[in-house]
Amino acid sequence: MAVKRLGRKDYLNILEAIFFIDFLKGLSVTLRNLFRRPVTTEYPSEKLTPPKRFRGAHGHFVWDGTEPDSLKAIEKFMSYEKGKSRCVACYMCQTACPMPTLFRIEAVQMPDGSKKVTRFDMNLLNCLFCGLCVDACPVGCLTMTDLYELAGYSRRDEVLRMDRLEEFAIDFKKRRGDEPDRIWPVDGEREKLWGRIEWTG
């Protein structure tokens, strides 16, 4: 294996040491940076929009007519309502979750034999936002939104119940549903880092 030699010396020669060349180099770096545009986002007054794949607070996609055909097959076993969560209470998310106490999911059998999800609580205080639950969801219901301001005044506030989960996902889909699902929403920025990629489909 060929060893690549770098053109950097370990020591300065005597002239460079006398004229403080290393100091001058450092000073020129800081001076150049002094006139650079600051990269600060002044947070409370300016907020960054995270990428669409950002792993923020969770959400439940709702039954709104955009779901794939495969979901129609299980429709008759569930007592779904329009505009309510698609969850089938399969406990896959809870199984995938590294944190045993995060989810609290309950379902009942309705008199007509169908299944109804009555409770889906997520204690975000336990959550490490790994996204394994989202991957595990077989019906494409559980998702993660781009909401990241999750501080609250009580522990109770940090538990997401079904209504808030649905609300988050409806809001997320309305705002960013049409965006391509990419890490770098701006192609130019991505290409600067990773080069050009041909997208298929």
Partner: protein
């Protein structure tokens, strides 16, 4: 009104002006330094309090003044308080021998814009520079804290490194000017028509080195190394008692020593008269703040030396250089019949 009372009043007015300007500028240098540091690191610095964060020093002052005073258990209380005075007083006293401009006549009286025009002004500078170290050492000793104590011991190690070099570095200028008086040195440069930095570039570098070491600036800020000593000798001080130390050491001392450097090497107030009667003051302050800017710029550029490196550089490189410089200068001055 007797002559004595009049001169006393004039001196008091001068003291009030210099003290007010120095302390105000010292406070605003904190703002300047934070802005500069921020922009060097592609940040913004203070922006919230006032336009461009200009009221930030006032807000900091209010915050520091209203903080709860806490004195560590086992502290040597009289020395603990004495250290604050000993840090601030020499830094302010340095301003007393700085000539800000040429003498002028006001209401038939000759007034010099210098508080004490003494013929041993440079000795006063050395004396105050040495005294300032007591503030650092006392504060570390009195706080009964190991970090503070390590910080003050490091300062003691630094002072034995730079004090000697400082004296020898300045001696070259003294030989050229033939006087220890600051006004005399500036006058000598104006008479010769050349700044001494062109005759004594080595001495200027050495002086800069000593200035950085004395004011605890990077790369010689080993006594308050934030990363390893959590700001070192002043770590056990709180509120305004803490605020005094950076104000005195980082801002007043840097300003005063920059002013001394301007007097010694950059021709003091000399410069083209672009602002009429105010131009000497303008040139003096412009040169001084150019140097202050350079020191702060250096602060946010360089890493920190180790304590042993400072001593090593001072004794093995700087001191021989200073001696050679002096001997060379003395020989040249003697040959030319100076």
């Amino acid at each position: 009104m007797s002559e004595f009372t009049l001169s006393l009043i004039i001196t008091l007015v001068k003291i009030a002006v210099v003290l007010g300007v120095a302390m105000g500028l010292g406070a605003y240098l904190t703002w300047f330094e934070r802005k500069l540091a921020g922009h060097i690191q592609a940040r913004l610095g203070p922006t919230v309090v006032g336009p461009f964060g200009l009221l930030q020093p006032l807000a900091d002052g209010i915050k520091l003044l209203t903080k709860e005073p806490i004195i560590p258990r086992g502290a040597d209380v009289p020395v603990y308080y004495l250290a604050i005075v000993l840090a601030l007083a020499p830094a302010i006293l340095l301003f007393s021998v700085i000539p800000f401009g040429p003498g002028f006549t006001l209401l038939g009286r000759e007034i010099k814009p210098i508080i004490a025009d003494v013929n041993i002004a440079l000795l006063v500078v050395f004396a105050m520079g040495s005294l300032a170290v007591y503030g650092t050492i006392f504060s570390g000793w009195a706080s009964n804290s190991k970090y503070a104590f390590i910080g003050s011991l490091r300062k003691a190690a630094v002072i034995i490194a730079y004090e000697v070099v400082l004296g020898f570095a300045v001696l070259g200028v003294v030989l050229l000017a033939g006087t220890l008086s600051t006004t005399g040195i500036v006058q000598a440069q104006i008479d010769k028509g050349v700044w001494f930095v062109f005759y004594q570039p080595v001495a200027f570098i050495l002086f800069l080195f000593c200035m950085l070491a004395e004011s605890g600036r990077v790369p010689f800020d080993i006594q308050e190394a934030e990363a390893e000593l959590v700001t070192g000798y002043n770590v056990e001080y709180g509120g305004m008692k803490f605020g005094i130390f950076p104000l005195a050491e980082w801002y007043l001392n840097v300003m005063a020593l920059s002013a001394i450097a301007v007097v010694l090497f950059f021709g003091g107030w000399s410069g083209p008269p672009i602002l009429g009667p105010l131009s000497p003051y303008f040139w003096f302050l412009a040169k001084m703040f150019g140097l202050v800017f350079f020191v702060i710029w250096l602060h946010w550029t360089l890493p920190r030396f180790q304590a042993k490196d400072v001593t090593e550089v001072a004794w093995k490189i700087m001191l021989p250089l200073a001696l050679v410089n002096i001997i060379f200068t003395a020989v040249v001055v003697y040959m030319r019949g100076g």
